[in-house]
């Protein structure tokens, strides 16, 4: 069988992969089919290419070993210590809200717990409830006092820093004046001329 004149071995090699993948147009594929059928070298190349593909497609695939999966699960699960550490870090970063939240929770507990008790069997006397309420008010006032004290301290710190910078400015200005007094600059101010009165 003679090779078609319009398809050479170089043409086959150029489109070889697309041909064996079945991606050529039918007319082009037919030309290559015809050429390969009549060309021992291209036929051999075709067989070799198919063998390589077959070997590649027969290569095994692998599941990750159990120790890798277990290590991943261990890394994905935070320990109790890590969880506690993360919680404490969050509280330490923002202590004021945490203190306020604790105070609010304490108030709610003290206010709600008496209401949950059945009225027919009061556990605490009226005097005890009143005392607990007063103590809660004192606790809230104490927390408020802490917050106001912290605010005052912060304000004083800002003011003292402003005072220090103001003092530094004063010192700097006095240094400038002292330098000016030692070597006064000549006066450049001109006196106005008197206007003659009655001159002829």
């Amino acid at each position: 069988m003679s090779k078609p004149v319009d398809v050479t071995c170089a043409d086959v090699l150029d489109r070889f992969e697309a041909w064996i993948d079945g991606e050529l147009e039918p007319a082009d594929a037919a030309k290559l089919d015809s050429h390969v059928a009549g060309c021992a070298a291209c036929r051999d190349e075709h067989r070799f290419a198919l063998e390589i593909r077959s070997q590649l497609q027969a290569m095994p695939v692998f599941d990750p070993p159990a120790r890798v999966v277990n290590a991943v699960h261990d890394a994905a699960t935070p320990t109790m210590g890590e969880r506690l550490n993360e919680f404490l870090n969050a509280v330490m970063r923002r202590p004021a809200p945490a203190v306020a939240a604790v105070a609010v929770i304490a108030v709610l507990v003290l206010a709600v717990v008496p209401l949950l008790r059945t009225p027919t069997t009061p556990r605490y006397s009226a005097e005890e409830v009143e005392r607990a309420t007063e103590e809660t008010k004192l606790a809230l006032a104490y927390v408020g006092g802490i917050a106001r004290h912290a605010e005052r301290q912060a304000r004083q710190k800002v003011m003292s820093e402003a005072a220090v910078s103001g003092t530094l400015r004063e010192i700097s200005r006095s240094i400038e004046w002292t330098g000016a007094a030692v070597s006064p600059a000549p006066s450049t101010t001109k006196r106005p001329k008197r206007i003659d009165e009655g001159s002829s």
Partner: protein, 175 residues
């Protein structure tokens, strides 16, 4: 990402990740390390990826991790002639006949060696297409390449393999 979603993703894609790492790196221990790193990254960042894109995302991350491992080791391309023993031991399964087995094992070892000689992205594309069986579209999404580029890259990769192995083939047939 919930723990259940994570476990399902590992069960579904773990094999693909590990297989890709094994064939890219040619070293099982390194492949295990890369696989562990990739799956931990899935746990930490999987919530940023759409569930239908997890597979392609994992392939991309695995390939990048293998490239980083190459650079870190600075070992370049390892010779495969004496490193077949380092590969998983079941490479010879499915080969026909005792004589064919001896020749096929030698050829498959040389194929693996030639595969490691391929440059990127030809090597990744050949592994993903011929060994892992991904479609052109899946490879294009994973490696962020146009579909036409995947096809061209695959064809060139296979041609380089053939050219590299032609000498081996002649030797095997002469024996």
């Amino acid at each position: 990402m919930t723990r259940e979603e994570f476990d399902a993703a590992v069960a579904k894609h773990g094999r693909r990740v590990f297989t890709l790492a094994v064939y890219l790196l040619g070293d099982r221990e390194e492949a295990e390390d890369v696989t562990q790193e990739v799956l931990i990254r899935l746990w930490r960042r999987g919530h940023e990826v759409a569930s239908e894109k997890i597979g392609s995302w994992l392939v991309r991350v695995t390939r990048n991790a293998c490239v980083d491992a190459f650079r870190h080791n600075d070992s370049g391309i390892r010779a495969m002639t004496d490193s077949v023993a380092r590969w998983p031991s079941d490479l010879s399964t499915g080969m026909p006949g005792p004589e064919g087995l001896a020749n096929a094992s030698q050829l498959s070892g040389r194929i693996l060696g030639a595969l490691r000689e391929l440059s990127e992205p030809h090597r990744s594309v050949v592994i993903l297409r011929e060994i892992e069986g991904l479609s052109y579209l899946e490879i294009a999404e994973a490696l962020e390449m146009p579909l036409s580029s995947v096809r061209v890259t695959l064809h060139r990769g296979r041609r380089h393999l053939r050219e590299e192995l032609r000498g081996v083939r002649d030797h095997v047939e002469a024996c």
